[in-house]
Point group: D2
């Protein structure tokens, strides 16, 4: 799905910590990924329920991020998360950091997530029920179409 | 420059911390960017000298990373850094995390860095002397050619 | 003031991140101090207003913490902050992490904070107006009494 | 054991990261505890061998730290670790951050560590073999004396 057409149905305010801010007075770029992670985890919990992580892991395979404007400590920010694509062993999340008051866009990030067998250290196929749940959350049955 | 042709002349062992490792037993993806940052900072210090950051800031504009194999707490890892491209207001670093003993590739990351006027919050042109210094470190005068 | 008599008038929910949790499944002890810091910063902002940190810094001189029960990723937690003592160049904050639903006490921490001249790297006396503001917030004029 | 009499036999250089440094230009206080943790983990690995953490966990029960001088990004620092006391279910580590060139003392920290059954979430007695190993590393048989 083209990112222009994404409707964000999952949004989460994020709490900034004093230690997130670097010498430049900006939230350090590494912190963004902690924040994206937190929101991805929440998204997957909302999709799968609390015990999701006991059976399988979902790990990051690829990250593509644009830092558009710095985040300052006093900034109010939310992270929006949507599923952009579902494949066999991976799915792609599209996330944005915005200031909810000004709608200023701070950062966009695409993450390819892989379902992963933590015991045997290898990727595994995504269960169909998980795919269906993601498509339901996104209100987008097209996400289930095979490429 | 194609990444296949990059010769890495800057390499730095990185020290992992217990707190870097997440519930999955993997170094968390956000930590990689702290490590890349540390090595970028060292690279720029080596290029510009210690007082580089007092005058200008160099901030991250874009990140593109592939996570190829998980890093475990006991892993020995080094990060290699090279300049891949130099533009007018930005330059691109190419970095790899490898296990120096096994040569196993853990992660590759491209980062577009922008020179930045921290007072006025806007990007500024890279000084020519800085470009020359980067090309010297890379032993690659082609980096100075205009696109 | 004895800690038993402290009334907490400042309370803040804290947002946990996936990366806060270590291999043991516990929020790592170093993260607690980021969280305490965030709440201290908010407390001081509430006391002094937004521009407090431009003039002076408030740095940590001493920390004394008891970890009573582990924090798990799914735990809901708040941090309560109170001023326990005000001296000439330092003041002491008393903080607690609790689960607001169960009232389970997770951690208590005493922090001695020093007002600090960031330019000259030395501690400085706390302004009287700041002391008064702290005592007002705590509704405790006894905090202004000289030891 | 009085801290004045402690001989440090375990010392480890620590690598600072750009993201460790806060808006004040100081290594943030929460980072110290990540660094102390890293050195504690290394100490325990050196004492017990690599598989130590598979059987039991060692968790932090109490921290008492004095921040004596700020750490700047360019500072070279090492952390020294020693066992100060061994009890039945806990042992106390004493750690110092120093600049190895100037011998400037940056921070001292006492940590009470508890051996912990991670499955049942409760503290357990320290195995005698572990106590003996700690006393050997410290070359201090008095550590084995019952209080």
């Amino acid at each position: 799905m083209d990112v222009e057409n994404i409707k964000f149905r999952h949004e989460m305010p994020v709490q900034l910590r004093f230690s997130d801010v670097d010498q430049f007075g900006h939230v350090n770029n590494s912190v963004y990924f902690s924040l994206f992670d937190m929101c991805k985890t929440k998204y997957i919990f909302d999709a799968l329920g609390q015990d999701s992580f006991h059976n399988i892991g979902v790990v990051v395979a690829h990250i593509n991020a644009d830092f558009i404007a710095p985040i300052f400590y006093q900034d109010e920010v939310v992270i929006q998360t949507a599923v952009q694509h579902i494949g066999n062993k991976s799915f792609t999340l599209y996330q944005r950091v915005i200031n909810p008051k000004t709608q200023e866009l701070k950062c966009v990030c695409q993450t390819v997530m892989v379902t992963y067998d933590l015991k045997n250290n290898k990727s595994i196929e995504i269960e169909h029920a998980f795919k269906v749940r993601l498509a339901e959350l996104e209100q987008n049955p097209d996400l289930l179409k095979t490429d």
